[in-house]
Amino acid sequence: MPEGATAAQAAYLEMRGISKNYGGVHALSNVDFSARRGSIHAVLGENGAGKSTLIKIVSGVVAPSTGTLHLDGKPVEFRTPLEANAAGVVCIFQELSLMPDLSVADNISITAPPRTKLGLIDGRAQRRRAEELLARVGCEDIDPRERVKNLPLSRRQMVEIAKALGRNPTLLILDEATSALTGTDVEKVYGILHALRKDGLCLLYISHRMHEIEELADTCSVFRNGQHIETFAAGAHSHDDIVQLMIGRDWSNVFPEKPKWDTPPAPALEVENLTWAPTLNNLTLSVGKGEIVGVGGLDGQGQRELLLALFGVLRGVGGTMKIDGRPVKLGSPAEAKQPENGIALIPEDRKTEGLMLPMSVAENITIAALPWLTKGLVIDQSAEADKIREMVERMQIKAGDLDQEVANLSGGNQQKVVIAKWLLTGARIILLNDPTRGIDVGTKQEIYALLRGLAADGASILFYTTDYDELIGCCDRVLILYDGAIVRELTGEALTETNIIASSLNLPSERTSAEAAR
């Protein structure tokens, strides 16, 4: 690209004074941000730091509350993703934007398919186009006529990438776009991204994986609590410095102190050879009374399914499960929550699995414990009201009116409602699936303290999180899952970020230490 040399110097995307408020929450406050062409620009930050909001503004999903957006020097205002697309802004979202019932070819050409002379969609040309794009991302094995819902997640993600490339972007945003890819696919994607950078595209890359960022990015920007903290050339800061920038405080104080175990605690939950083809392979684990056991690893290594299996959601689970030494076989969450089992699952997505959004705060709090709040055939309303008041106080749920819809609460308070709901059942075995995703730091801290307090009172906690710091700071032991099996158990001194990353990638730990030193 001859003109690329000059074009690359000036900022292609420029955001000035951008703020975004959701109700009282400041998702972004007064952000100035710019990115140039011919660059892979990593955007770093904790969950809830404002990265997603930034992307949503650039790609036309939400409008900023204040501030202006410039593209190639010209002010722009995107009202819909379609308008952003037309301007060359294409986004590959973490949550896929594919239509499951349509074919791969249909999905790739969804908005601008090749047409016949009559203006109708040209199926054959569309298929060829899909084949070309799939070949470009190295996925010749995908049949363009196959429906997307029949593809495994990793293939879908490649289709998503092919779809984005088919829109000829000048500004390509990748939001955790490699989270479900297999190793070889990741290599292919890296190759494509390097080639696109050479072609003079402006690439924004969002990922939680430091090694990906080290490999790809030439510029990094750190966000924290909705603010743009710093932008620097890749390599200008050490890994530890970057983490420090991201969390912005000494994170050792965030977590409550861990207890010292003289003797290992008596096991409360024991699982042997848990298998659920093809996702879970022979998992054996136990969680002691009063223990917080972390579950780590890359996304999609079977962590979610492990928790669902223990909660009785999955069918055809092999292996044995014991609670307090007593073998159990759970066929549904309704069975799992019975007092003799006492299991609770705080699900990953509070909006779809955790809460009944149109129902009130109060109704949501008691929904799981209702069977124990009845008088004869009807709900004992005064007992219910007492329990609700007790929980709201204990969890410090900030909801003006308990009869308002739970949808109106902030993310942190919603998550507190979910946790309150399960505490009310008197659960002794608590399974958590990434409970702090998208929650403000203050609430996170409250949740850590609460978990430790519950454990001290004798609960057993199995805690899956994508946040390494939580694994290190909050858990007594950490199990790393890879491909549906536990590849490593980390405790004490061995519980370090390096070891977590190394075992997550199923690498021998020496190699990664060497990489980290490099």
Binding site: P81, D101, I110, T111, I121, V313, L314, E353
Partner: protein, 348 residues
């Protein structure tokens, strides 16, 4: 080989509907004393309006909704048609065009209410359906109106009769025995449905039913596709009303009939293999779904009550068997439940 496998797996619902129709109709033919093209004509006459109303319903279902106004809209067009289609020659043609325009306009109105009013389709069309029926009653407080007899006869018959009536052509042999109803249907499918399905707007309608969020994030013009789907539903319902007018030669604001057509239209869509969750299927399946439903009622006419097991052929049991078939069709479609390993996916 691979493409055959893909074709089969992606059109299972349609193939199932065709198979069911084939079995039922074959049984009907075997029981009919002297079955011939005249019987096919009669069958077609009784089925076309239901097929068209079913096609209308299919449009709403593809985008993930239900249209409760398809039956009433057919009735409204019928009453309107009994007025504007009276007369002869060119005025009839104008009347037909006016009826199509009325149906399309009503469908467009449904679409606008749903999209801009942000009202769920089922509720919006519950209301507009009542409005359509009210208008129909205003137009025809009592059944009446008379369509030119020659016209009604010729255009609901076969190719030969059409020629004889107007002196356009003489006996065309076997070709002339082909009833007009399948020809109308093929024309509508080729001229309206196929272009829609292959347009960007039509593709958008499927995308909305499949995953509205992803469609929006992909830059699909959600509003346009949704309005188009409901507009087309109105057009199909209007065509049903026109055919009914020609078939009966008059208009009748028959509320029970409208309601029955609406309910049956949902059954035809489901039997035809279109998922009520939206995003799949199409009108071809619905055509066979309607044929399956009608075949059941045809069978009740030919199985004598004196035959062994003839007591089950009592006309009183007809709704019972229609319900049974509907249940079987839906159950076959839901067989995947037995393969689901994650109970959560039962609810999504």
């Amino acid at each position: 080989m691979k493409s055959l496998r893909l074709f089969l797996s992606q059109n299972l619902g349609l193939l199932l509907a065709i198979a069911m129709f084939a079995v039922l109709y074959a049984f009907y033919v075997s029981q009919y004393p002297n079955w011939g093209m005249n019987v096919v004509l009669q069958n077609g006459n009784e089925t076309l309006a239901l097929i068209l109303v079913g096609m209308a319903q299919t449009m709403a279902v593809i985008v993930g909704g239900l249209d409760l106004s398809v039956g009433p809209l057919m009735t409204l067009t019928n009453c309107f048609g009994s007025i504007v289609m009276a007369g002869t020659g060119g005025s009839v043609v104008l009347g037909i065009i006016a009826c199509m325009a009325l149906g399309t306009a009503c469908g467009f109105m449904n679409g606008c209410i749903i999209v801009y009013g942000r009202i769920q389709p089922i509720i919006a069309t519950l209301a507009t359906g009542a409005i359509f029926l009210g208008l129909a009653l205003l137009l025809r407080p009592s059944p009446g109106g008379s369509i030119d007899g020659d016209f009604a006869w010729a255009f609901t018959n076969d190719i030969n009769e059409l020629g004889y009536t107007y002196g356009w052509w003489e006996d065309l042999g076997f070709f002339g025995k082909i009833p007009l109803q399948p020809i109308y249907l093929i024309l509508i499918v080729l001229l309206v449905w196929v272009p829609f399905k292959r347009s960007v707007t039509g593709r958008g309608a499927y995308a909305i039913g499949s995953n509205a969020h992803a469609a929006y994030m992909s830059g699909v013009r959600i509003d346009r596709s949704k309005i188009a789907a409901f507009t087309l539903a109105g057009f199909f319902a209007g065509c049903a009303g026109i055919y009914l007018t020609m078939q009966m030669g008059s208009g009748n604001a028959d509320a029970p009939q409208a309601a029955e057509y609406t309910l049956r239209s949902i059954a035809t869509v489901v039997i035809g293999g279109t998922s009520l969750y939206g995003g799949t299927g199409g009108v071809i399946g619905t055509i066979f779904g309607a044929l399956v439903l009608r075949s059941i009622s045809f069978i009740f006419r030919v199985v004598p009550e004196s035959a062994p097991l003839g007591f089950v052929a009592s006309p009183l049991l007809q709704p019972f068997f229609e319900g049974l078939i509907l249940l079987v069709a839906v159950s076959l479609g839901a067989a995947r439940v037995f393969r689901v390993k994650n109970r959560l996916s039962l609810f999504s």
